[in-house]
Symmetry: C2
Subunit: 280 residues, 2 copies
């Protein structure tokens, strides 16, 4: 039986329940974070823990345990479960609400879940995105609201795409669960600077890429797509993943470009090096 | 012990739990509806049941019980709980998800909850709203996503307001949990025709008001507010509630106007008559 965390306790997976009066169930009010294990080592553990507590603060949710205790509980369930290359999902809800609208004592739960590996050809051939006009509420907060992304899944599948690329008022923001980058005609790597979730992989890819390339975090416009030489997304399971098409627009020559391929290689090495530095 | 409904069973309140792998907890994906009891009789029972199943259909959520069975279970818990003038909240979640993103077998639960009565002066003196630039996703669907409304509660309270009035691109849509109406300088009752949740009370108030007034369902613009003679909101617990101020703009002479007051009286009678027609 897998071990999960509920509030400040480690419990069996089949005992991990939340009462129906919780504000996450009644009003979709909650935050989360998600990271993966390389072998059994957390990737970017501190980055995710920090972002999780920041999201919680913004939504006025007090976590029942502090950073140190949360990290220690997570390490305990990783050790108990022994699922290599799995994911850790931390969720903090609005808590049991007396009025159905006010914040209560937040419920914390942590799930250790298998990750279905993405098909290898997504990394070697790239993926397609479809654009969607949409303004995310509170983009800085990793809230649990994914209504639009899940609502649109049948359309995404029908069009042979992997996900939605959001834009609003002519500006491109991000993909439902990833950050989005282009290589502009001057070989600059460009990504939206504001109005997006600060992806942990986004941060590490930018930091790594700056050693070899020019990277600009700034407003990115829909009209720039047609001149983009390459495009890619970043994320926990996507790492660096090439984008070969957006709606009907083929990017570059429809294959992963040289800079994206270079970044993929560099980023795999970067993650290897990062993990080697972590304690056993 | 209060009786709730979980899927197709009536259970005790303290047994009503949802597993942490449910898509409502992981991704805020779910729909709900809410109505109140007058005495022990459901108000607009069929309207709410129909809207609930329509919301569920749009989000591709299959309710574990059909309309007839759901209504019969709800009547059973009303009879068992005997809480006069309480509320019935029906929630249908995305269900336990194997991937953390795909829809599973939806979980249905129904809560019978006390309603904290709104202060009488809200009805006699009216309320204040603050505007917020916001475009609701899938406004026709009564989804559980109330992130923005709850996030903004401290600001709403600080400004002495009751709720947010949403507008986007110069058009007014609705209040977080109510529909919004103005009386224009020609004594026409105006409310947004599209891009809003089709409130059940909105429908009944419009139908009732049409017997005595001109009612227009059409695009309503922010610039119309300054010439509005009166304003009010409609909802399950608000019935017809006057609005005396929006941000710094005082509506009319800052008191409930004659048409709103007339509608309040008519609507109380309308509800009385509606309830008298329902079977014991």
């Amino acid at each position: 039986m897998l071990k999960y965390i509920l509030n400040d306790q480690i419990i069996d997976q089949d005992k991990a329940f939340v009462h129906v009066s919780d504000l996450a169930l009644l009003r979709g009010y909650g935050v989360f974070d998600f990271f993966r294990l390389v072998g059994l080592k957390p990737l970017y553990f501190n980055d995710h823990i920090e972002r999780f507590f920041n999201s919680a603060d913004t939504l006025r949710l007090k976590c029942p345990v502090g950073r140190k205790r949360l990290k220690s509980l997570i390490l305990e369930i990783i050790e108990a479960n022994q699922i290599e290359h799995s994911g850790i999902r931390i969720v903090l809800t609005g808590g049991e609400s007396t009025t159905g609208y006010s914040i209560g004592e937040p419920t914390l739960f942590v799930i250790n879940e298998s990750i279905n590996p993405l098909p290898e050809y997504h990394f070697t051939q790239g993926i397609k995105l479809i654009t969607h006009e949409y303004l995310r509420e509170l983009p800085d907060v990793k809230s649990i609201n994914y209504l639009m992304g899940i609502y649109k899944l049948p359309e995404i599948k029908e069009k042979g795409a992997l996900d939605l690329l959001f834009h609003w008022g002519g500006k491109i923001s991000e993909v439902t669960r990833s950050n989005f980058f282009i290589i502009d005609p001057n070989d600059k790597i460009v990504t939206a600077g504001e109005g997006v979730l600060r992806g942990v992989n986004r941060k590490h890819v930018i930091s790594m890429a700056r050693e070899n390339f020019n990277v600009e975090e700034r407003d990115m416009f829909v009209h720039e797509l047609k001149n983009a030489e390459e495009a890619f997304i970043t994320g926990t399971t996507k790492k660096v993943m090439p984008v070969y098409q957006i709606d009907d627009l083929v990017i570059g020559d429809g294959k992963p470009g040289p800079i994206t391929s270079k970044l993929q290689k560099l980023y795999d090495d970067y993650i290897d090096a990062y993990i080697k530095q972590q304690p056993e």
